[in-house]
């Protein structure tokens, strides 16, 4: 890592500090990590906002995400184009939401996005099936998955439309005290 003045201007660092849960040092470290992923693609100089995006395949290979069953969904939820290409800003975004300081509501919004595989703003049966299969590495039989899906929706669905809207999801999350500590990736 070079001198910090060459990577970001003070103005930029201030903006990052105001908009994310990271301090200057952490932003610089994140830049280091981002740069590490593709040294020939990512410039060291970010003072004039270069347009540079890294593909999903590269980001998913980070040790923090590599073993995560939801890695592709995490990266996709944070990318603007939905395909998993992340600019540095989105990269920072991702780890900011997954950081320790992020409030429950923010985490819940993005967790909802991550679990919403078909991007229809609902967690329906299909999403749940995919979630369960990833959680258990497809160890459950299809019947069991079916049953769990049914019961889960039955339990958490408040307005009776047979799928979980964000309100249902958030209500459920608010009763899980461990969610805040588990939906957290140390960078």
């Amino acid at each position: 890592m070079g001198n910090k003045q060459t990577i970001f201007t003070d103005e930029q660092l201030d903006a990052y500090q105001d908009c994310t849960f990271f301090t200057r040092k952490e932003i610089l470290r994140l830049h280091g990590r981002y740069h590490e992923l593709a040294p020939h693609l990512v410039p060291m100089d970010y003072t004039n906002d270069p347009d540079c995006k890294l593909p999903l395949a590269l980001i998913v290979n980070m040790p923090e995400l590599k073993e995560n069953p939801f890695r592709n969904r995490i990266v996709e939820s944070f990318s603007e184009d939905g395909m998993g290409n992340l600019s540095f800003n989105e990269f920072v975004d991702m780890f900011s939401v997954l950081s320790e300081m992020a409030p429950r509501e923010l985490k819940a919004i993005y967790a909802f996005k991550i679990y919403d595989f078909n991007v229809d703003n609902y967690l329906c049966k299909e999403d749940l099936e995919k979630t369960l299969n990833r959680l258990t590495k497809e160890e459950l039989t299809p019947e069991e998955v079916e049953l769990v899906c049914e019961k889960t929706i039955e339990e958490a669905d408040l307005d009776g439309d047979n799928k979980l809207s964000f309100a249902d999801f958030e209500n459920m999350i608010s009763r899980a005290p461990d969610f805040l500590s588990t939906f957290h990736i140390r960078i």
Partner: protein, 838 residues
Amino acid sequence: MARNVNFDLSHPLMEAGLESPVDEEGVHDSFSQLIAEQSQNGGMSDAYELQQLQRELDEEGQDNVSYLSSPGREFRGRIQERRDVKLEEDERQTDPLIAERWSSATLRILSSMPSRTIGRSRGAIISQYYNRTMQLRRRRQSRPSIKDFSPSARPSIRCYGMEADCTDGEGTDGSKRERLVNNLQNLSVTDRIRMLRAMPLSVAEKGELRRLALQKEKQTLSGSKLPCCSRLKYYIMIAVRQSWYSWLSFLHSLQLWQVALKRVSGRFGTGVLSYFLFLKTLLFFNFFLFLVTGSFLVLPQAVHPPVLPAGRQPFSGLELLTGAGYFSDTVMYYGYYCNDTLNKTCKDDGAVLSDSMSNTATRDCESKRLSYNMPLAYFFTIGVAFFITCIILVYSMSKSLSQSFRIDKSHSILAMKAFCSWDFKVIKKTSVKLMSENICIQLKELLAEVNHKRVKNTMGQKLWRLMVHGLAWAICIASTTACVVGIYYFSDYMHQNLQQSSRSVIENPLLHEASLLALPVLVSLINLLLPGLFNLAAWMEDYESPSIRTYVAISRNLMLKVSVLGVLCYHWLGRVAADPSSIGLKCWESFVGQELYRFLLMDFIFTLLDTLFGEFLWGLFSEKVLKRRRKPVFDIAKNVLELIYGQTLAWLGVLFTPVLPAVQILKLFLLFYIKMSSVMMNCQAPRKPYRVSQMTTIFITLLCFPSFLGASVCVTYTMWSITPSTSCGSFRGLKTMFQAGKLWVAEMEKDNPNLSVLAKAHSYLVENPLFLFVGAGIFLTVIYFHSQVVDGQRKIISLLQEQIENEGEDKKFLITKLQSIHEQKRTPRRLTSQDSAC
């Protein structure tokens, strides 16, 4: 449900719900607003359903041109359609909300419902945050009475979509954004940052918003003629913020063990991590304690060493274990501290070090103002340190309590398992595999539980279980009692031994010193071995639920440790302090301090031995000899209880050994690395699910309630009612330590009669037990109110839950009504239009 629902806006919806509480207005408001917007989008009239249907029909009419051309087919088609409608109606009764069956108008309304636009579009998010900033501004400007709150500010109804428009048109989007920027600009700096951080938008977007807000702020600042002071205020604010940020990043660079913690959490998940975080918390407490005692007691005394009566004993090496001998006349112990006033400085340059050597010389130029009253400092330092620790503890306890026991956890266990059980921190491959296996097993268990309600045990089985539990408890209580009685008699024996040896001449001082270690070794041995027995009993009992097993283990260990500490406190404060001369002690406080030092050290050594033998060698043995594949699991509860025990010792001893926190810091520091490497080498990720936040709460509570409270009761008792040694320490010559403050006040009153108010206040506040009672009473009242508030919140939550369910019902009802009206309107229209076509 037999309300007359009318969709005409002139007859507002909320009239239909006269019995509904005021809170609901928000919902109805937003509903009617939405419908209004919908009709505005359509464009023409207020009568919503008519024109909507009109448009609908027009569209459908265009689609069905082919039908119109051949009436016969149309007729058949109509019959078909009617049958479809019938079918739909039937289906709706069984499953009322299957979306595909709705007509497009209903679908459109459904899709623009406030709850469904959350997080979908940028416009919605921006307008949602606009509302929030509005509320924040309103709230900050004046504290309104509760009825001035907009309904959406209450927890029941979210502010989502209060002004959410369903059109994502560029124009409205732009203006929304403009307004949001305006609001942001008007917020205070901290509020703005908090808002920005919590927005679920991308960094680029947020940066842009922030830039615009800042720009506006600058414009208004430079544009308008601001008075000088507010400009100054602005610059000061910026400077303060800058320095705060640099301070934060400095603090962050100090963060301990970042990498190590990441490695642990990556491999073992949140459960084991919580142990290390707890250790870190304790480290912080001790650091604070040492900072206070070090800077107010140790440092001043070390700078002004008193004249020692006799030569020091030579250093033999055993002192490191016993804390006696060479160490006994040092700043480590209470006995070293003098009881007179230290004179910090006498010359103007404040040379503290230069005059330290010549205590007598400085007495001549003594100035009252710069003196340092050692007894008073001792008294207040300990008092203030305990008080602040107490506040921090209670605060963190209440915080974690409110976090973990916020809401009853009766419902949606499966859903929580599915969505909240994955620990995103874990990055090691084998641990990930283990975790998914665990989740799988738990899901299966839950399913089995859901499917078959638990089989009732027969009477005989129940009786058997009860007997087994009774037996296990009896064993545990009996062994604990035996150990405690053993410690009691052993300490008595040691005491008599000391009495005898004090009368005769000691022939081997080293052996005498080493014999002091017997009691700590015994106690530590009991602390090490008895939990094993408890584990055996728990294994015999075979608890079904892991959480009950943990609670039982914790309560048994706690019982042991509390009773052992109780006996020891009696030994120190009842036996040793009551008659110190009988065992030839000049300074019993120093002796107790040494004892605590020994206990702390022995505790550490035995923990090391436990780690070595219990974890490392046992792991090797089971792997090599027993050929077991599984490594032992890190026992979080036991280890945390050990930490709490050590911390209690440290708190107990800080009065007698002001540097004990430093020893504890060192111990914790070493312990961190040892435990870390042991865990990494010998253990595997835990198999049991571990309720982290709940356990953390329990540990903090244990740290606060028996541990800290017990220690402070002992310390207070010592200060209040035990006579300090007459020939050593800061409080020599006083009847109790507490009198130091009294004397000081009396002296001050004598010097300066104007301060008699202070003296009176002191005598009323500190000496009068009434004040203590009132304080405790207030404290209890606050706790009572707090619990009442929590109780009330719980009730409100259940009420709101009910309300949500009702709203869901209402929604279903409204939608079916809407659909049926639509259908009714459509079919006669069809008929008439078809008639005219014919």
